[in-house]
């Protein structure tokens, strides 16, 4: 896909003047501009202000693929938002990131995120048709066309799901493909029109954030305000519908209506985001911030806020990066930035991250090893009498350890004061170690008894299963077991008398 002649990134002075005169319409936005413009003059040609012929889609030879790295001066210009155009683009994409992150969280939790993909692809025939009818790039008409055909696409998915036995993924795939294909056919008609504006339509597919003008940024700001306001007002309702729609319906909430409102916010965000991120990538901006935010928090309020922040940071960083390296398409850079934040979350999140998970597994393995050793020692002591020492060989006979692994385990236990250092090379528990070993043995036997009593597992198989569960279950579950089994009178005496909570 390549754009034709003419760059959409140049803003005619007349537009700039016209929009400047209408600043009173969005006083809040004007205030932000005022603060930003105090930082410096707004007339340089860095970043998004480009010379014609250097647009995103302009064909270039493969040899001409060097990336122009920005100079320090350009870096500060972009970061301090010294340029009017950069300011508009950065502000617009940041606000879009907020809106997409917030509404995307609800769509993600409602498991409707991929419906957004069908929606965004379905906007293309509407855009092309509106252009064909109006004959030039009239923004309200294009947005109206995009919304109408997008909603039609969503309704088509809902209809297929309702009246056939197809599942969501198939319904979404069908609608997405057919609508997009239909859009491409209409689009080829658009390209045959010689109005000189058909290149602007191209931007809706891949996104040309660099072409954003103040009017677009205002539209996005209004959309972000709508999304935040709607999500704040309907927070309780959205939470309920996302978690348990049946229960919501039983309580009398209009689940369909709430779903439509939620989808309406998704439609609004998608349509205003088409120009800057493009209809192929906009769904990523809906899903990724929400998915990344989920790694950091277990609270819905925090998740919504965090997804907004992650979306905003992606929009800001992505558009700044692409301002510094003008050949990079803004929409793609924004999505890649969001992807980077997602992978960082996936790896480094303290509760759900891969590193934390790996660390927990490592700790579990170690704890299991300790418990095996303690149990073996406690059982050996039980038969040989308290304070008796046993050899490495004795332990290895009960538990199959490699000599090296057992030595390492024993030396760690000695360091922690569980095994008497003076008795080495024989193994003897210290008083602290004995208490711990008996606790482990007791938990183990409780489990054995539970499995015999409740799970109808043959007694000969119990030992192996008990090995699994006793290391996995938490203390409170073990306490529950003690409570339910204490009256049976078959629980081994506890080494901690205060722990017994049963009758």
């Amino acid at each position: 896909m390549t754009a034709g002649a003419g760059s959409p990134h140049e803003i005619p002075p007349s537009v700039r003047e016209r929009t400047a005169r209408r600043r009173w319409v969005a006083p809040a936005l004007a205030a932000v501009f005022w603060v930003a413009s105090a930082c410096g003059p707004a007339n340089a040609q860095v970043g998004h202000g480009r010379s014609p012929g250097e647009g995103i889609g302009t064909p270039r030879s493969l040899a001409d693929n060097a990336v122009t790295w920005p100079s320090g001066a350009q870096l500060t210009r972009a970061l301090l938002l010294r340029d009017y155009n950069t300011r508009i683009v950065v502000l617009g994409t940041t606000l879009l990131g907020i809106a997409a992150g917030v509404v995307g969280t609800f769509a993600y939790l409602r498991k409707r995120a991929m419906l957004g993909d069908a929606l965004s692809h379905s906007t293309l025939p509407g855009i092309a048709l509106a252009f064909l009818l109006v004959g030039h790039k009239h923004l309200p008409a294009l947005l109206l066309g995009a919304s109408a055909s997008g909603i039609l696409g969503v309704l088509a998915v809902v209809a297929i799901r309702r009246w056939s036995r197809l599942k969501d993924d198939a319904a979404i795939g069908i609608v997405l493909g057919v609508f997009f294909g239909f859009g491409m056919v209409l689009f080829s008609l658009v390209q045959q029109m010689k109005t000189g504006e058909e290149a602007g339509i191209q931007g809706y597919i891949y996104g040309t954030a660099a072409a954003m003008i103040e009017r677009d940024a205002r539209l996005i700001a209004a959309c972000a305000a709508l999304v935040i306001l709607g999500s704040a007002l309907l927070f309780k309702e959205f939470r309920l519908v996302c978690f348990d729609p049946d229960f919501a319906a039983a309580q009398g909430w209009p689940v369909l209506g709430l779903d439509l409102l939620m989808m309406g916010l998704v439609v609004t965000t998608t349509v205003v985001g088409l120009q800057s991120v493009g209809l192929i990538l906009i769904v990523a901006l809906l899903i990724i911030p929400a998915a990344a935010a989920r790694f950091w928090t277990d609270r819905l309020v925090a998740m919504v806020a965090l997804a907004g922040v992650i979306g905003a940071v992606s929009g800001w960083l992505g558009s700044t990066l692409s301002a510094l390296m003008p050949r990079l398409p803004t929409g793609a850079v924004i999505v890649i930035t969001a992807g980077g934040l997602f992978f960082a979350s996936m790896i480094f999140s303290p509760h759900r991250g891969l590193l934390a998970g790996g660390f927990r597994r490592w700790r579990l393995t170690r704890r299991v090893a300790y418990q095996h050793l303690f149990r073996a020692l406690a059982e050996l002591e039980e038969s040989a009498g308290e304070g008796a020492a046993c050899s490495f060989k004795d332990v290895q006979r009960v538990r199959s350890w490699s000599a090296g692994a057992l030595r390492r385990l024993v030396s760690r236990s000695v360091r922690r004061g569980y095994i008497d250092a003076d008795a080495l090379p024989l193994l003897r528990l210290t008083p602290v170690g004995r208490t711990e070993a008996r606790r482990v043995l007791r938990n183990h036997r409780l489990w054995e008894m539970y499995l015999i009593k409740y799970a109808d597992i043959a007694a000969s198989h119990v030992d192996r299963d008990a090995d699994e569960v006793e290391h996995v279950l938490a203390h409170e579950v073990i306490r529950e077991l003690q409570w339910s089994l204490a009256h049976a009178g078959r629980v081994p005496p506890s080494p901690h008398p205060q722990e017994v909570s049963g009758p």
Partner: protein, 272 residues
């Protein structure tokens, strides 16, 4: 089973429902994809009793509940709660869905979920108030889960999740409760807690309908029973209705010899 208090008046207003009956189902048929799941169900629940709904897999037990609560469309028939439609009497009805029906990885704490039981009393667009959270906390205490109020729901065990669902229904403060398989896949402690809760609700005069799959405990837990297999096979006091003959009719070939033997053993020790 239907009690006709005044047939003339009933005919005049076009219903056959009794205003003193907590749940009366009249001539209800439910179909999924043209295939009927429930046929001509006629049933009137006894007021203030613990009622077990028992039947084989695919008998339409869950569908019966969902059709009563207007969650799935009825092909025919009507349901009344103390004489009124569900839409009118919603506040009187509490619901415990199957635990597997939701994604427990949702970002919410146990208290958040229980507070949802109060949402029906909070107007649109307003957040839960302090007294809603206090009421929810009280319900968590009733199921022995107060210590877990702040815990993320995915980090609860299956039994604890089930108790959170029960607490949410308690927070609805209803007179009639529908519970869909509350005993499925729970640990011994939770089973004990649920039984205690059912007895408390019963003592407080609530009507509780419980979908139950464990034939061995039916006699112990429920005073009344509905045997269901696409239609109501039998309904009434457990001692009279829960017989081998009726079970055979309900389960047909699906009731294995083993189940029956286990049931007979359990029953012998428990029948009053």
């Amino acid at each position: 089973m239907l009690v006709h208090a005044s047939p003339d008046i009933d005919r005049a207003v076009g219903t056959d429902h009794d205003r003193t009956c907590p749940v009366s189902i009249h001539d209800m048929t439910v179909a999924y994809h043209r295939k009927p799941v429930l046929w001509d169900v006629d049933y009137a629940a006894e007021d203030g009793e613990l009622i077990g709904i028992v039947g084989p897999n695919g008998a339409g037990k869950s569908t019966l509940i969902k059709a009563c609560l207007d969650l799935v469309p009825r092909a025919s028939g009507s349901v009344r709660f103390y004489g009124g439609t569900y839409k009118r009497q919603r506040r009187l009805v509490g619901y415990v869905p199957q635990r597997e029906s939701v994604d427990w990885d949702f970002p919410a704490s146990a208290l958040d979920v229980v507070t949802m039981g109060r949402y029906g009393r909070i107007p649109w667009c307003l957040p839960p108030r302090r007294r809603d959270r206090e009421a929810a906390m009280h319900c968590l205490e009733q199921v022995g889960m107060a210590d877990y109020a702040r815990r993320q729901i995915s980090r609860l065990s299956g039994g604890q999740q089930q108790r959170v669902f029960l607490a949410r229904a308690l927070a609805q403060d209803a007179r009639i409760y529908f519970m869909d398989e509350p005993f499925s896949g729970v640990d011994a402690a939770t089973e004990t807690a649920i039984v205690a809760l059912l007895r408390n609700l019963n003592a407080a005069g609530k009507t509780v309908l419980v979908v139950h799959h464990d034939l061995q405990t039916v006699r112990e837990y429920f005073n009344y029973v509905v045997l269901l297999n696409m239609r109501v096979v039998a309904a009434g006091p457990t001692a009279q209705v829960f017989t081998d003959e009726n079970l055979q009719k309900t389960y047909g070939g699906r009731l294995t010899l083993l189940d029956k033997a286990a049931d007979a053993v359990a029953g012998a020790g428990r029948v009053p």
